[in-house]
């Protein structure tokens, strides 16, 4: 019966390669050319999984292929010489244990590999297999296996690998492994790399990297001890009591690029159905820890918000099921995404203002669109998944929940919220850009980033801020249309940053290469500042014969500085002085004529680009008579100067008054008041917060007195 099912699966596959869509094109659904049929059995005593896998793959490229690359990522935990272990040597992840206990090791051993080919060329066989290290020269790394056939697989030809393997699970580490009676199996089976452009994309397992694989259909049978609750990628299509103290759970899912599962007797299964007009229904499955049972409603609500908002913004969630695993304490499996299955993370004492578990849930569900469906190469361009998902997460949380407030975790355990301290979602990651924005450019292989902070900044924080800035620049409507177009055009297709830039430019109707040059491909930070804003009365003219009237030109807008914009929007263009009109006296607009009888002020504003990032920025200058002048500066040269001669003093100058440039690392220098309000020589804010800090300090001293 299963053979017939498998045959049916093959029949649905096609040999046609997926074409890259051109501008304005909406692609056809990609062809299926890959399927996995896996039978696995969990042994909780030895913490191992014994499995047989049948992998069918059709060469949909136009290149004959003789070598096949497989991910064996569980081998990253094989020893302390794997590439991942080397990369994390300065940040121990085995809970800092030295020596590392035996149960912290994990590996995957591939037994036999048999191969069958179906095509005109006849049968084939494996002639060799060896571990390769495409990213480094680490001979100890066994995370990529090369399997060589005796002859090339012709274009259109199909091959079937029968693989027997054993996976030994490590104690919970980097989102895989076991703790107590909880087993989380990720990266646990031999997974084929992605063949594209005549080459395999199958990177080693890196410390700072997630995953990349091709879409396929999965049919997986999981045999576990009876009484265990099982969750997995896809929908459950059957369960059999084997009569020997085990049950076999069968899962099936089409068009996903990974398969992950969890088994534990401690998980409490909960189900609910997501329904929203215009979006397909989804069975939501929540596997919950007992100590988090009171968070069930909040977990489900976060899943619903995610499916609704992301489905509306980007496109419907195409699968019929979404499983969320609430992992147990110390499992090291929280906050991770896999196709149709994600893991949350929370604490049992999590009042709503902590947005836990909501924040992580939205983020991981959001990955379903970018990691799951668009599926960029996370090893090479992590930001395309993590960055877009971070931006989408902030956006969804902003729309679905009350403003986020600051929460202090007293003694690391007790949440204490400060309702008056609002933490804007839009600038959540700005301080990371400030701290690490100069370390690297975003477009690097993940293992090439300078350090862990740089990986985080360039995969998550900076792209988040870049996309917020882009949204402010384009407007929300255009931005959402651009992202939606990108999603619809490239889902299932592994797009690159170039595809993203091209799509956004196309939808925006302008070439945005300049924007992405300053963000994706630059490690310069952005900081524009008003460094001077002054006004002074022009003294009376000396030496002019009495009786002669001097006309002072009111309007003098001098934009000084190489490359400076001199564009003046019509509505703010100061009027040319008309000596015969007394507009001031008549109480009309104050930018009319000025004569020598009136006091005239010379005002000067200097805006400086303090960092290397270059963006066009608006500058608004406001005068005491209420008049405002807006200038657009291209932001290229180091500074620009604006000068005015007007019958009113300058009150303030602001660069980027609408806060479009959210990447600006220092918003406090974006404005300058000519006469800052003071009280006793200092701002009122200083008095207020000094008083509060003084009280804190007094309390600290009293606490100190308690032990002295």
């Amino acid at each position: 019966m299963r053979v017939i099912g498998l045959l049916a699966l093959w029949l649905t596959t096609s040999v046609l390669p997926a074409a890259t869509p051109g501008p304005g094109q909406t692609p056809a659904f990609p062809e299926r050319n890959l399927s996995y049929d896996i039978q696995a059995k969990l042994d909780p005593v030895s913490k191992t999984v014994e499995a047989q896998q049948v992998l069918s793959w059709r060469n949909s490229s136009d290149t004959p292929i003789r070598e096949f690359h497989f991910h064996l990522y569980l081998n990253a935990f094989r020893n302390n010489r794997s590439t991942m272990a080397w990369e994390q040597a300065f940040a121990p992840f085995w809970r800092g244990k030295d020596p590392i206990p035996e149960d912290y090791w994990g590996f995957i051993d591939v037994g036999s590999i048999q191969v069958e080919a179906e095509g005109a060329e006849g049968p084939t066989r494996v002639v060799s297999r060896r571990f390769i290290h495409p990213d480094d020269d680490n001979a100890q790394d066994r995370t990529v296996l090369l399997v060589e056939l005796d002859r090339p697989l012709a274009p259109g030809e199909q091959v079937r690998f029968r693989i027997e393997f054993t996976s030994k699970l490590p104690r919970g580490v980097r989102r895989t492994g076991w703790v107590e009676d909880y087993y989380f199996l990720a990266q646990w089976f031999p997974k084929l790399g992605v063949f594209a452009d005549g080459a395999w994309y199958c990177h080693q397992y890196h410390f700072h990297s997630e995953f990349f694989a091709d879409f396929g259909d999965y049919e997986v049978s999981l045999t576990v001890p009876s009484g265990m609750v099982v969750g997995a990628t896809g929908r459950q299509v059957g369960e059999t009591d084997n009569g020997d103290g085990t049950h076999t759970h069968r899962f099936r899912q089409e068009d996903v690029h990974d398969f992950t599962w969890v088994a534990s007797s401690r998980l409490l299964p909960r189900t609910r159905r997501f329904e929203h007009p215009g979006l397909p229904s989804v069975d939501m499955r929540l596997l919950l820890m007992e100590e988090h049972a009171h968070l069930e409603e909040r977990y489900f609500r976060a899943m619903e918000h995610s499916l609704r908002l992301f489905g509306t913004w980007f496109g419907p969630y195409p699968y019929s099921v979404l499983t969320l695993v609430d992992p147990p304490y110390n499992s090291r499996t929280g906050g991770m995404e896999y196709p149709t299955l994600v893991t949350g993370r929370t604490d049992f004492w999590s009042p709503p203002e902590t947005l836990s578990p909501e924040g992580v849930t939205i983020h991981e569900v959001g990955h379903q669109w970018w990691y799951g469906l668009v599926a960029s190469n996370e090893a090479e361009e992590a930001w395309l998944d993590e960055g877009i998902t971070s931006w989408a997460t902030d956006r969804a949380a902003r729309d679905a929940y009350a403003p986020r407030v600051h929460v202090e975790w007293l003694l690391g355990e007790i949440p204490l919220s400060f309702p008056s301290v609002v933490r804007p979602f839009e600038t959540r990651n700005l301080h990371w850009v400030r701290r690490g924005g100069r370390l690297d450019v975003m477009t690097r292989n993940t293992w090439s980033f300078r350090n862990r902070r740089s990986y985080f900044v360039n995969a998550y924080a900076k792209p988040d801020m870049v996309l917020w800035t882009l949204e402010r620049y384009l407007g929300s409507e255009v931005m959402l249309r651009a992202i939606r177009t990108y999603f619809e055009r490239y889902r299932y297709r592994h797009p690159t940053a170039e595809d993203f830039v091209r799509t956004v430019s196309e939808v925006a109707g302008e070439d945005l290469e300049w924007f992405f040059r300053e963000t994706l491909h630059s490690a310069e930070r952005v900081d524009y500042a008003v460094t001077e804003a002054r006004s002074m009365a022009i003294p009376d003219l000396k030496g002019v014969p009495p009786g002669e009237v001097e006309t002072v030109e009111e309007v003098t807008v001098a934009d000084v500085g190489e490359g400076a914009e001199t564009q003046v929007p019509a509505q703010t263009e100061p009027a040319v002085p008309q000596p015969d009109k007394e507009t001031e006296a008549a109480g009309e607009a104050s930018d009319g004529e000025v004569t020598a009888a009136k006091k005239v002020y010379w005002s000067r504003v200097v805006v400086t680009r303090l960092e290397g990032g270059r963006f066009p920025v608006d500058v608004v200058m406001e005068f005491e008579d209420g008049k405002r002048f807006r200038r657009l500066w291209d932001g290229q040269y180091r500074w620009v100067r604006y000068e005015f001669k007007r019958p009113s003093r300058l009150r303030s100058a602001v660069v980027d008054p609408d806060r479009k440039l959210l990447l600006d690392i220092d918003p406090t220098n974006n404005s300058r008041l000519v006469k800052p309000p003071t009280s006793g020589g200092r701002s009122l804010a200083t008095w207020k917060w000094t008083a509060k800090w003084l009280f804190w300090l007094q309390n600290l001293m009293e606490t100190f007195a308690l032990i002295s």
């Binding site: 304490y329 003694l411 700005l430 404005s671 008083a691 509060k692 300090l697 308690l706 032990i707 002295s708």
Partner: protein, 339 residues
């Protein structure tokens, strides 16, 4: 004498020493104010010359705060959202329980050290005056008492710091390790949560016990005019053990007063919040009234504890018959005798 009687009598004695409260308050205000100017400079410059000067009046802008936190140095590093609401109480309690003093800026620790010295002097003067001048005294007598007992009180303070260090870094180290390893091995975070809370509760109880115990040591120094701090500590220990329920009950009563006072402050702080000059001034005044009250409660505690010792210690009930080996056999100055 009942515990409430002790408190009432302590209050009556304290009423005659209102200036002591004021001196103690001025010490904490003055010590904290040492850092005022540097803090204000840092804060003012962080606001820039633009709109954040106005924005920060109404609320703590989080973008500004992150920038401030990234750039500021010195005492202002200790600024954070915890200056709001109950933060000053809970955050400083956290510093105490986590032994976070070492993470504080050096300038703050320096000011705290100055406070320790001045506070010790004024406290020694105030406590000795409460005993030696129950009806009240003048400033000269206050200072003279301070000068006489300062050295002994300072030795008690140093001993207290050493005991705290011992408690935190020697006595509780195995407990910390046990809690961490047990939490790590537990199947659920709930176990770790309660174990962690229990650990901090233990630290709190031990710190409060230390405070209580050394309060009596100070009282013994004054009441029995002991020159040996160690003997005073031993005497205090004996007294506390013999009168465990009484000393604990009285201490908890005084802690209760402090908590009620803190609760009242939080209520007023919520109401008094304002963004105008007047509002800011009112909030400041409320804060300082609270601190003044805390100082009064501290001295009330000493006053009540002095009464408690006098009521329970046979030597004070009957100085001629009640002398013990731990009481001075030849007191240089008897109870109630004026300096």
């Amino acid at each position: 004498m009942t515990l409430t009687g002790c408190v009432a009598q302590g209050w009556r004695n304290l009423s005659a020493h209102k200036k002591s409260i004021l001196y103690l308050y001025l010490v904490i205000l003055g010590s904290a104010s040492i850092l005022l100017l540097p803090f204000m400079e840092s804060f003012e410059s962080s606001l820039g010359s633009g709109i954040y000067r106005e924005r920060l009046v109404t609320a703590l802008d989080y973008d500004w705060y992150q920038l401030f936190r990234d750039r500021v140095q010195g005492a202002a590093e200790s600024f954070g959202p915890w200056v709001l609401g109950p933060g000053p109480f809970l955050h400083t309690l956290e510093v105490l329980l986590e032994d976070g003093f070492g993470k504080l800026p050096a300038a703050v620790l320096g000011a705290a050290a100055i406070y320790l010295l001045l506070h010790t002097f004024v406290l020694s003067a105030a406590v000795s005056s409460l005993h030696l001048h129950p009806g009240g005294g003048n400033t000269r007598g206050f200072l003279r008492n301070g000068a006489e007992y300062f050295g002994r009180f300072l030795r008690v303070s140093v001993l207290a710091l050493l005991l705290y260090w011992f408690l935190r870094h020697v006595l509780l180290t195995p407990v910390d390790g046990w809690v961490d390893s047990f939490s790590d091995a537990a199947a659920t975070e709930v176990t770790g949560f309660y174990l962690s809370l229990a650990r901090y509760l233990l630290v709190l109880v031990l710190v409060l016990g230390l405070d209580l115990f050394l309060d009596y040591a100070r009282i013994k120094v004054v009441l029995e005019d002991r020159t040996s701090v160690l003997l005073a500590v031993v005497a205090a220990a004996r007294f506390c053990i013999r009168n465990f329920l009484g000393v604990t009950g009285l201490y908890l009563l005084l802690v209760g007063f402090t908590l009620v006072w803190a609760g009242l402050y939080l209520g007023f702080d919520t109401l008094a919040g304002g963004d105008s000059r007047v509002g800011i001034l009112v909030a400041f005044v409320v804060q300082q009234i609270h601190m003044l009250g805390r100082m009064a409660l501290k001295l009330l505690g000493f006053g009540a504890q002095i009464q408690f010792v006098k009521g329970r210690d046979p030597w004070f009930r009957d100085p001629v018959e009640g002398g013990t080996s731990l009481s001075p056999t030849v007191p240089t100055r008897g109870p109630g005798e004026l300096a």
